[in-house]
């Protein structure tokens, strides 16, 4: 029977439609549950017959996704991708996707690899709570300190607009190198 780890491997290949990282690195995959069917049951509507796949249906999968923002327009694309890719795993019958708001998604859920990939494309992420940005010998909290510029590293940056090209991003401007960049919004 398919394992949670195998499902997670498949989910790792699915990119977020609006950010240059995968949905697992973004931290929106909350829970994966595999329910064993016991015996093949080809009578359930929507389930592929064994002769179509060559593998008997063994289990149903349910996956919980945490939206970054309520009603994010990218969610539907993500749901389709997850249902389609996980549904292709051998032995998987149905794939049920639940959209849940508890726990709330936050920037803390982005993996270090995800942060790195975002930074390489000029998108910065607020530091995890409790971590401090060290600059010019002064320790300042993230909330009070604008993001460090992803291009030149300067903290001489200012908020240009609290609303950016997608609902989860804000626009900052770097006074040192003159570049605008995007910063993920933290919801508190």
């Amino acid at each position: 029977m398919v394992t949670e780890a195998e499902i997670l491997d498949v989910l790792r290949t699915i990119p977020d439609p609006e950010l240059p990282i995968g949905i697992v690195d973004l931290g929106i995959v909350h829970n994966i549950d595999v329910a064993d069917r016991g015996s093949p049951n080809p009578g359930v509507p929507g389930v592929r017959m064994p002769e179509q796949t060559g593998v008997p249906v063994e289990c149903d999968v349910s996956i919980e996704i945490l939206p970054t923002f309520v009603g994010c327009p990218a969610l539907r694309v993500i749901e389709e991708q997850v249902a389609s890719k996980v549904g292709q795993l051998a032995g998987v019958g149905s794939v049920r996707i639940g959209i849940v708001y508890d726990p709330p998604w936050s920037v803390e859920r982005i993996s270090p690899a995800g942060r790195q990939a975002l930074a390489e494309l000029g998108v910065t992420v607020p530091l995890p709570s409790g971590e401090r940005l060290v600059s010019l010998g002064v320790q300042r909290r993230d909330a009070a300190t604008p993001a460090a510029c992803p291009f030149c590293g300067s903290t001489q940056t200012e908020l240009e607009s609290a609303f950016g090209p997608t609902r989860c991003k804000m626009i900052y401007y770097c006074s040192a190198c003159g570049n605008p960049f995007e910063h993920l919004r933290r919801l508190t």
């Binding site: 309520v70 009603g71 709330p104 607009s161 609290a162 609303f163 950016g164 609902r167 919801l187």
Partner: protein, 260 residues
């Protein structure tokens, strides 16, 4: 409480419809500004807020459908008769592409929404409280956005100040429409599904509006006008509402059964 009693489903549907309809219509009004915002960043911001409002309406319609046994989200959004909508007069008013009117309307509505979502986020029904809490977190960014404009334009040039004051004076008589009671609201309060705050919503709202206006050098009347006749919450809408709704529902009504 882990589930909602059957007897409270109808009143809660009314309340959430009024919340969703306010957001849906306001989002539609805001979307008029896409491409026409005063500066590029604001064009993006206001369009983004429009998208937020419509997304919030959508998840609330979805909630009514899945949790309270209401119609499908698209049918709720586009398939009702005008008298079945529960939005307040304030979100129905046009702004004639006058930015001062658009931003003052937004300022009034965002602050109201934050107060209302605060009550819903304190609900004794966790399923509702969790969703409302998420909506509230996003709504706070809208409040901050509106406040920034109020202060910037209120303290800007004499012309910007006068135009903001005129917009406040023009829209103030309709602010009472936000506070009109929703049918069955009283039934939701004792169970804590829609808990009462320490003071009336209009008092909380008026205080934050007056504070921000004061900071901007603008003045607001001392109290919120009372809604005398049945208004939007009872399905009685402004004369322009039908036309606005027809525009909003035009595509849906061509083929209501179409799948999107």
């Amino acid at each position: 409480m882990t589930t909602i009693p059957e007897s409270l489903k109808a009143p809660l549907t009314e309340l959430l419809l009024s919340t969703a309809d306010d957001k849906f219509l306001l989002g539609h009004r805001n979307a008029d500004w896409t491409g026409l915002g005063p500066i590029l960043e604001e064009d993006i911001a206001f369009s983004s807020i429009a998208q937020d409002e419509i997304a919030h309406a959508e998840v609330l319609y979805q909630f009514i459908h899945t949790q309270l046994g209401g119609a499908k989200p698209d049918d709720l959004a586009y398939g009702r008769e005008p008298r079945e909508y529960r939005c307040a007069a304030l979100v129905e008013l046009g702004d004639e592409f006058d930015w001062s009117r658009a931003i003052v309307r937004q300022f009034f509505c965002d602050h109201f929404d934050a107060v209302r979502l605060g009550r819903l986020a304190a609900s004794s029904w966790p399923t509702l409280a969790v969703l409302a809490g998420r909506l509230l977190a996003e709504e706070r960014a809208h409040v901050q956005h509106a406040d920034t404009w109020i202060v910037r334009l209120g303290r800007g040039t004499p012309e910007s100040h006068d135009r903001m004051q005129r917009a406040i004076d023009a829209l103030w008589p309709d602010t009472g429409s936000l506070f009109e009671a929703v049918w069955g609201e009283g039934l939701l309060e004792p169970s804590g599904v829609y808990p009462r705050g320490d003071e009336r919503m209009s008092v909380t709202w008026h205080r934050s509006i007056a504070e921000r206006a004061g900071e901007a050098g603008l003045t607001v009347p001392a109290s919120v006008p009372k809604q005398k006749q049945p208004g939007g919450r009872a399905g009685q809408h402004t004369p322009q509402f039908e036309e606005l709704l027809a525009e909003l529902c035009e595509v849906y009504r061509v083929e209501p059964k179409a799948a999107w």
